[in-house]
């Protein structure tokens, strides 16, 4: 990984709008946690809300906002040339960008969701939430990093993907659910607390392997794309 490119991507990702989105969604996570704690069946409500909000909303939306911007913003404002023109292997650029996304999205989303899980008071949920959110962040970050490099309107396309595929199509049947990222981290939460959740019916091994594979596939595609793309 190239530390100089890593720093460039980190700085290009940070914007007031993105930080506000991060703060707003963090606030919602904490509010949901307090609501779950006060519920009649905190285990059921906490598992559902951590799964539904953490892996379905918080992780994908923040990964989209920052992941698609990591290289996408450089493409959009035509400054990728100042990274691309250097004698740096393309996979190094992709890895640095991926690391930059993970190092911003990961700690914040995982930390907020883990604090939220702690607030619910459901002990079984604590580690599971941290692991499930981390895996969701990894998968979505890789996916949206690639999306940002591939498409000009990546934010819009990503929102469409989350809304239509992840949130709607995945409910149409088991095969659709298998092709949605969110079902895997949700399964980890379901396994941890024993609360049955819709779509969360993946094997333990798949729950860990698939998000990692999706994130890696995004990274590999980004490297491949960087070596073939034409720079404006």
């Amino acid at each position: 990984m190239n530390p100089h490119i890593y720093r460039v991507v980190i700085r290009s990702q940070i914007s007031t709008g993105r930080l506000l989105a991060l703060a707003g969604l963090s606030g919602v996570a904490i509010l949901l946690a307090f609501a779950a704690r006060a519920a009649d069946d905190p285990v059921e409500v906490a598992t559902q809300s951590m799964g539904t909000f953490g892996t379905n909303v918080f992780a994908p939306f923040i990964a989209l906002a920052l992941g698609s911007a990591a290289l996408g913003d450089l493409v959009e404002d035509r400054t990728l040339v100042y990274v691309w023109l250097r004698p740096v292997p393309r996979h190094t650029v992709a890895t640095a960008a991926f690391a930059a996304v993970l190092s911003v999205v990961g700690p914040i989303v995982v930390a907020v969701m883990t604090v939220a899980a702690a607030i619910t008071g459901v002990e079984d949920l604590l580690v599971a939430t941290a692991v499930a959110t981390a895996l969701a962040v990894f998968a979505y970050s890789g996916l949206f990093l690639a999306l940002g490099l591939r498409f000009k309107r990546s934010l819009l396309i990503g929102l469409g993907y989350i809304a239509i595929w992840e949130l709607l199509m995945s409910r149409l049947g088991d095969w659709f659910a298998r092709l949605s990222v969110r079902s895997y981290p949700m399964s980890i939460l379901s396994d941890a607390t024993g609360v049955s959740m819709r779509l969360a019916d993946r094997s333990t091994l798949a729950s860990y392997i698939v998000p990692l594979a999706v994130g890696m596939a995004g990274l590999l595609y980004t490297s491949w794309r960087l070596s073939r793309t034409e720079i404006d």
Binding site: V81, Y82, V83
Partner: protein, 312 residues
């Protein structure tokens, strides 16, 4: 047995290079070799100069043909990018960095031994303030051009591609930039500068590749190109009180190939020898006792010059 002495290998070479975007042909079957020194890519906007420069730097892949830099394919060989410096045409920069950070970043990514010192040298070369803490977002157009040049030369590259580098500079800065290009060229570097301004290229005093409509329209020393341009056929409108008599006199002298009376005091003539026409028109008018009120070339804009060179 005598040995044939080959000249130095070209630093940049294009062989039958074409580039198209869908139906649009940006560059069509262009071949050239460029060695050390300053070479100007001259052509109107949209002629394909930037596309050629982008292919030379590996930013774009030729649709057909081959571009090599120092014998390597800049698209496939990442290492050769370490020998290339480029200042792209677009104004956008990494606006959240200061000028010094921007140039240091370029040096770091080029694995320069002492990036801080290299950045200092490059920034001083382009005459920007080394201690200016402002972000690039606050830079004027001229400052942006100079910082782009600094990042292009910070790693002491052998091939320097500069896309319209004089745009936005004041006359003094232009003069100093041109001196810098010459200095780099005389140090054995291959400096390729694109421009759509004929007078600007004249001041480079260098080899010129004229690009028009995606094709290599002409190449050679600037004086040869200038002569070609000056000697092209011209259509000239002459406002005079005796258009018919003057046109006949010019036809008799053989300096025009055709004429058309446009109004009582206006005749449009075609000449394939503008130099002879310029010499003959005043004496012809004097002989006919005609007053020359106005002489106006009808196709003397740069576009028509390039059009002529392409169709020649």
């Amino acid at each position: 047995m005598s040995q044939v002495q080959a000249g130095p290998p070209p630093m940049v070479q294009a062989i039958g290079v074409s580039k198209w975007f869908g139906d649009l042909v940006a560059v069509s079957d262009v071949s050239f070799s460029i060695g050390a020194g300053v070479t100007a890519l001259l052509g109107p906007n949209g002629a394909g100069k930037s596309t050629l420069l982008r292919m030379m730097c590996g930013l774009a892949k030729p649709s057909n043909g081959v571009v090599t830099v120092l014998g390597k394919n800049p698209r496939a060989d990442v290492a050769v990018l370490g020998r290339i410096g480029m200042a792209p045409q677009q104004e956008s920069l990494l606006d959240y960095l200061s000028g010094r950070e921007f140039v240091e970043l370029a040096a770091q990514l080029h694995h320069v031994d002492n990036p801080v010192e290299a950045a200092r040298r490059a920034i001083q070369t382009v005459e920007l303030d080394l201690d200016d803490p402002r972000k690039l977002s606050t830079y004027s157009k001229g400052m942006r051009q100079r910082i782009k040049l600094a990042q292009a030369i910070v790693h002491d590259p052998l091939v320097i591609a500069l896309d319209e580098p004089l745009t936005g500079l004041d006359p003094r800065q232009r003069r100093e930039m041109i001196q810098l290009f010459h200095r780099l060229g005389s140090e054995g570097k291959c400096v390729i500068v694109s421009s759509h301004v004929l007078d600007e290229v004249e001041r480079f005093g260098s080899r010129v590749l004229v690009i028009a409509q995606g094709r290599l329209a002409a190449e050679g020393d600037f004086r040869e190109i200038r002569n070609l341009m000056d000697d092209r056929p011209l259509r000239i409108s002459i406002r005079t009180d005796q258009p018919r008599a003057l046109a006949i006199a010019l036809l008799d002298r053989g300096v025009i190939s055709g004429c058309r009376l446009e109004a009582d005091n206006l005749v449009v003539v075609d000449t394939s020898d503008p130099t002879a026409f310029r010499r003959a028109v005043a004496p012809a008018a004097r002989d006919q006792d005609a007053s020359l009120l106005e002489l106006r070339p009808l196709d003397d804009d740069l576009e028509s010059v390039f059009r002529y060179l392409v169709m020649r």
